[in-house]
């Protein structure tokens, strides 16, 4: 049975990654380290960011809103203090980066590409809790801005580049096409959906930042559809993300065109979810007599 997939130059022993901001070395004891296809690290920026005020989390029906605001200690601290903690992680490491504009993205990419332990870059063009300077909103809301940033990074690094896009657009496929045209090795679909929740007693938003990103099972059908729409339009691999809790969810994404998947919010509920998803996929492949997982990608039957 072959579970391995390739995203650009990145070889994954199985298609299951953990999503940025949802897995850290703190989970080592709970989830194990050796079962992941790749580990995507928490997004870093050039300079330190303090993040948004509390509350940053609000639970919603079968989902959660977050408004963390990319709290991180910046690139230098990441290289010096954070990255070494992941030495014991055997899977490839994907650094997630966010810059204010193409210049910052490029600088982050150049610096990180020099580090041997960084196997790939995920460009966070779609954090709904910050404003990017380049276009005063989310870069992934704008095909031109997306093209500009991906192009700048592509020209600056030989390692695999994954563009993480926003679902809060008229056509995810249009933005994905721009990322492909600019030289991205893959797109990750999708980041969180912008949402709100209100406390009716205090009449205040449940998040300190008023709005936040919705994740969890609530968004799975929406992300799935985004993957399918993009799959029909682009040739580069898609990494499916959005409410994946178990193997069946992951397989749905693959059938709709995802070559790999990321498990995010599920980690908070069940830190063993990624490992259980890998074994669940194996079981499914055995049951359906599938020898190579690649044959699942886009195998959705219509008509």
């Amino acid at each position: 049975m072959n579970l391995s997939v390739k995203i650009g130059n990145l070889k994954l022993k199985n298609p299951v990654m953990v999503a940025s901001g949802t897995w850290g070395i703190e989970y080592e004891e709970l989830s194990g380290l050796d079962n992941l296809g790749a580990t995507v690290l928490k997004t870093i920026t050039l300079k330190k960011r303090t993040g948004n005020p509390a509350p940053r989390i609000a639970e919603t029906a079968s989902g959660m809103l977050n408004s963390i605001g990319l709290e991180n200690k910046g690139l230098e601290d990441f290289i010096k203090n954070k990255l070494p903690l992941f030495d014991k992680v055997s899977s490839p490491l994907v650094a997630s980066i966010a810059g204010d504009d193409d210049v910052e993205f490029k600088e982050l990419a150049v610096r990180l590409s020099r580090i041997k332990r960084v196997d790939a870059l995920e460009l966070n063009l779609s954090c709904p809790n910050i404003k990017y300077g380049l276009n005063g909103g989310l870069i992934a809301h704008d095909a031109k801005a997306t093209y500009k940033v991906v192009k700048a990074v592509r020209g600056a690094t030989p390692i695999t580049v994954i563009a993480k896009l926003s679902p809060n657009v008229t056509s995810v496929a249009e933005i994905a096409k721009a990322a492909e045209a600019a030289g991205a090795d893959a797109v990750a679909l999708t980041n969180t959906f912008i949402g709100m929740a209100v406390d009716i007693d205090t009449k205040r938003p449940k998040l300190g930042n008023v709005t936040g990103g919705l994740s969890g099972p609530a968004i799975k059908p929406l992300s799935l559809r985004a993957v399918w729409e993009a799959y029909k339009e682009i040739g580069i691999p898609i990494v499916g993300i959005g409410g994946i809790m178990d193997a069946a969810d992951a397989i749905e994404f693959m059938l709709c065109g995802a070559r790999a998947v990321q498990v995010g919010t599920a980690n908070f509920v069940n830190p063993k979810a990624p490992a259980e998803i890998v074994s669940g996929i194996k079981k499914y492949m055995t049951g359906h007599k599938i020898k190579d997982i690649s044959s699942l990608v886009g195998a959705l039957k219509l008509g």
Binding site: G21, T22, W23, G24, E26, Y27, E29, L30, K42, T50, G51, P53, A54, P55, R56, I57, A58, E59, A61, S62, G63, M64, N66, I68, E71, G216, P217, M245, T265, N267, F268, V269, N270, P271, K272
Partner: protein, 266 residues
């Protein structure tokens, strides 16, 4: 920290909307200290999705007790769980209280904030018995609640020979008013230089007031904070509290939930 299935040994209603659950786990019993918490999965399904952070209320040789208030979907499901069922928990989490060898300890609990205070009082009691130099040490407990029926654990604290004072907002028992009124009154006669420590858990407003009183009296004070959490282990950065140093955030789940009151930017 471990994720484990712990058997529910009991789950009893102790007052309107308040429940005490005992779960069996030699691991948690051995490794949990007062002020630490566990993340409990309430539903097997995805709604409610997130785990609930609940403080250890009592640590016994075979497991731990959790005292909780039914405030929403998750705790409603928890309240319906029966003896013999398994509970999916991750823990122990957080830092817990640092027990000082003080001549006097003052425990201030507001509402469900009483939950971690019982195991803290037990630990302070044990420590005092073990350290001959501090025979005179005294534990004062101040319990604040909305009304008489919400005063929890008074008997348990008295059994531990604590000096218990009560405040209710409606005056149905003890002092009519806030726990912090009682704290101020208690400290009036205390001399500067008295070796005391204040430990507090309750609503943020109460903790802020306790911190101000402690600062005024120059008494060390530890506060246990509450915040909405997702992961509970420091990964998601979802439970920030602003600290004075550089106006930065610390995480309630990993850096806390217990903080030196002086550290917090109230």
């Amino acid at each position: 920290m471990k994720q484990l299935k712990a058997k529910i040994l009991s789950n009893d209603k102790v007052a309107e909307d308040f429940y005490r659950m005992r779960i069996e786990s030699a691991y948690l019993a051995k490794n949990t200290k007062p002020g630490q918490f566990v993340e409990v999965r309430c539903a097997d399904d995805v709604d409610p999705l997130l785990r609930r952070p609940l403080g250890a209320h009592r640590i016994s040789p075979g497991g731990i007790d959790i005292l909780y208030e039914v405030v929403g979907k998750g705790t409603e499901i928890l309240a319906r769980k029966k003896k013999g069922e398994d509970l999916d928990v991750i823990g122990p989490l957080g830092n817990g209280f640092e027990i000082n060898n003080s001549e006097a300890s003052v425990l201030v609990a507001g509402g469900i904030g009483v939950a971690p205070m019982l195991t803290l009082a037990e630990s302070i009691g044990h420590q005092v018995t073990r350290s001959p130099g501090h025979q005179k040490s005294k534990i004062h407990v101040i319990i604040g609640a909305k009304t008489k029926s919400n005063i929890l654990c008074e008997k348990e604290f008295k059994n531990l020979k604590c000096n218990v004072r009560v405040a209710t907002e409606d005056g149905s028992k003890g002092h009519k008013g806030l726990a912090t009124d009682v704290l101020k009154k208690l400290l009036v006669t205390w001399q500067p230089g008295n070796l005391a420590t204040i430990y507090a858990c309750g609503p943020t407003g109460m903790l802020k007031a306790v911190a101000a009183i402690a600062k005024d009296k120059n008494i060390p004070c530890q506060v246990s904070l509450e915040e909405r959490m997702a992961c509970g282990v420091g990964v998601c950065l979802g439970c920030p509290v602003k600290v004075k140093t550089n106006h930065e955030y610390k995480m309630v789940c990993k850096d806390g939930p217990v903080f030196d009151a002086e550290e917090i930017s109230w």
